[in-house]
Subunit: 256 residues, 2 copies
């Protein structure tokens, strides 16, 4: 039977979502996938389980980097035995570390693949826009100069539709195609927090964080929103802004 | 000149708000007051300052325990020199640890006293009401059984007005009077979070946390809301529920 569930995590204490290999061997560093597979095995493999071998393999909708959070990451895996969903989710959550949880377990078709079947990913980036520090800012980046939300929205509007996003990719991208479709890109304010919601069919490595870095360059240097269009059309990473901190980034939802 | 400001903090990493003395000597444990006085001295005492002596004494509206947070704690102190408020607050925040911040600095009358002049304190207690864990629950207590919000509100209604709250005080209370006036006591839900707002002229040691523990006893054992009245009238700490975790408690505001 193939199962899928949603996984929530705070990325701060992990080297990223995926188990990392070096010369075909796992690197001993905490990852979301590593913790999830360990917990799944504890629950289902029985006492004879060889803990050094990955007995239950999990497939993520996509990798998230060190420090990136998730509310709606989707993961699928296969199990031979039948399970009672509510009991299974409860027990798995009790085994998992405090900063990782699972929900919405369901049986899926064997053709379903968390990564390959995904049609849309929704990310959110949050940062603080305030001169002064506040004890409750947590790990969010703080931007001290005033953000012009209207201009920021105009900058984001240039990203809508199908484009080659080469300017916003970091060098690690494996997939040769740099074309993504952006369905939605909006910014809003909630108190001192600026929230940027971006929906797309796929995202390149560090793409959202580099888009935010470019938005901040426009705001910080009082550039016209058209600067975003120029960066996009240049297809040159050197034209875009910095890749901002991962702590404000959250994978909100994956649609199928 | 006497100044007052608001202080925000996350109580988790501190032994409480107040510097703790043992035989007249300060115990070497991190407190909000200790960090604040250190930072104030760094900013104003000059290089000749004796760091082992408390050169600027701060007065809090009231003490908060280890683990309790603040959004609106009010603190007053005296300084000989004139200061530029916005610059002073900015610099002080840069010196303070990430989980402590100050805001709203103003000059006050020399008759103003952060504790003695306070007329009303507003506290908030938050906990999670959900069977399953979620990675974003943080340090909030999780209650697994269903909360009946309507009954909880009825229980809270018995606290309104002037009462002897002996049943809800922990033994450490110094002030001999146990009479407090509660102006408001409401509960509401935001997603999976239950929020309890309580406003009163003063609060006894651990009073809010013991009120919440009693509410949970009523909910967990399906007692009638009148149980709150019985506990209140008994003036006996043994009749009340447990003192719940401090992590969900926040001092929201102090009114003068």
């Amino acid at each position: 039977m193939r199962y899928a569930f949603q996984v929530q995590y705070i990325g701060k204490n992990y080297a990223g979502s995926q188990i990392q290999l070096e010369n075909g061997k796992e690197i001993d560093t905490p990852t979301i996938q590593g913790e999830l597979e360990k917990a799944l095995c504890k629950l289902t493999c029985g006492k004879s389980a060889n803990n050094n071998k990955r007995q239950i393999k999990t497939y993520f909708s996509g990798r998230t980097d060190k420090g990136v959070n998730s509310i709606g990451q989707v993961v699928h895996f296969e199990l031979e035995q039948m399970i009672v969903a509510s009991k299974f989710v409860y027990s798995l959550n009790e085994i998992l570390p405090d900063d990782i949880s699972v929900s919405d377990l369901r049986v899926v078709d064997t053709k379903f693949h968390a990564q390959k079947s995904a049609k849309k990913r929704i990310y959110r980036y949050e940062f603080i826009n305030r001169k002064y520090k506040n004890a409750f800012d947590g790990d969010l980046m703080r931007v001290k100069f005033d953000i012009n939300l209207e201009r920021m929205q105009k900058s984001l509007d240039y990203l809508l539709g199908e484009h080659d996003f080469s300017s916003f990719k970091s060098s690690g991208t494996l997939n040769p195609s740099k074309v993504c479709i952006i369905y939605k890109a909006e910014c809003l304010k909630s108190g001192d927090k600026v929230i940027i919601n971006i929906e797309g069919n796929r995202f390149l490595y560090n793409m959202v964080r580099t888009i935010v870095g470019t938005l901040l360059e426009i705001e910080g240097h009082n550039l016209p929103p058209e600067h975003m269009k120029e960066v996009l059309e240049a297809k040159d990473r050197r034209k875009a802004g910095q890749t901002v901190s991962p702590y404000g980034l959250t994978l909100m939802k994956v649609e199928y």
